[in-house]
């Protein structure tokens, strides 16, 4: 099993190395003459006003939350899908009930108007 992950581990190392090398090479051959104006934040030429890190609306949080719920659902359902050949009809229905309960959650969010972008 670990042999399988060896490829992934080496891929991670190579994949980190791949972008680093060009960035370092570019730093060597490219010019570097920063000045105050150049390193200003780019806002189409207008001077930036106020803080960058502004408050965000709760909408983003809600989307991430619904996503989290479905993500966990998927994690439960993938093993169920893999074992499909050996399941009894009862077990298949179990999985479907699992999906339907969460579908109820989606319907609730929909009904409450949570999914509307305001």
């Amino acid at each position: 099993m670990l042999d399988n992950w060896l490829f992934v581990g080496l891929m991670l190392v190579v994949a980190i190395g791949f972008p680093i090398v060009p960035i370092l090479v570019a730093r060597l051959i490219g010019p570097s003459r920063p000045n105050r104006i150049k390193s200003e934040t780019y806002e189409c030429g207008i001077e930036t006003v106020g803080e960058t890190w502004v408050q965000f609306k709760v909408q983003y949080y809600i989307y991430a939350l619904v996503f989290l719920i479905f993500d966990i659902e998927a994690v439960f359902l993938f093993p169920w899908a893999v074992a499909f050949d050996q399941l009894a009809l009862f077990a298949v229905v179990e999985g479907i009930i699992f999906i339907i309960i969460l579908f109820g959650g989606l319907l609730y969010a929909w009904n409450r108007g949570i999914l509307e972008w305001v």
């Binding site: 670990l2 965000f56 709760v58 994690v75 093993p79 074992a83 009862f90 309960i101």
Partner: protein
């Protein structure tokens, strides 16, 4: 020392460093990023333990969803981004004392437990990473079918609860 052991030690050190940085970073988003690093290291430890499924789930759920949720939650709160207030209050020594007590207590308990000194029984890799068996157990009436369905209800409750808390206050 085998290469696996070396990898394990490197990963653990990185994990501990990331964990330490999570609690000491002054910027909340940076703390969240260190948390992502720590969670990734846990996934690597799972891989080293031959538990590929858990490793992948760790990344999908914790890095892909929960860490993102953390960052969103941080961004929702105003003016915490560059907060440089004191990181501890006058009760820090009590917390430190309890942490030390907990650490030594756990160490003592684990050392006293006979199992800690033994080698774990060798499980064949096929058993350990068998997703099929996991899937069967999840929906087996003699296995974990009740927790499986309860988990779904729990997720539903979490969703509704979060919507009520986050939405109605808005």
């Amino acid at each position: 020392m085998t290469p696996i052991q070396a990898l394990f030690i490197i990963t653990s050190v990185l994990l501990l460093v990331s964990g330490f940085m999570v609690v000491t970073a002054r910027n909340l988003v940076r703390a969240a990023l260190w948390l992502i690093a720590a969670l990734f290291m846990v996934a690597v430890v799972f891989v080293l333990l031959d538990a590929g499924f858990l490793a992948v789930v760790q990344v999908v759920v914790y890095i892909g969803a929960i860490a993102i949720l953390f960052i969103f939650a941080v961004m929702l709160t105003r003016r915490v981004m560059q907060e440089s207030g004191p990181q501890s209050n006058s009760w820090w020594w009590v917390a430190g004392l309890f942490s030390l007590l907990l650490f030594f207590g756990l160490t003592w308990i684990i050392l006293g437990w006979g199992g800690a000194a033994q080698h774990a029984p060798r499980v064949s890799a096929a058993d350990l990473d068998n997703i099929e068996q996991l899937g069967l157990a999840l929906v087996d009436p003699a296995g974990y079918v009740v927790p499986f369905e309860v988990a779904s209800v729990l997720l539903l409750a979490a969703l509704i609860g979060a919507i009520v808390v986050a939405w109605d206050r808005n």
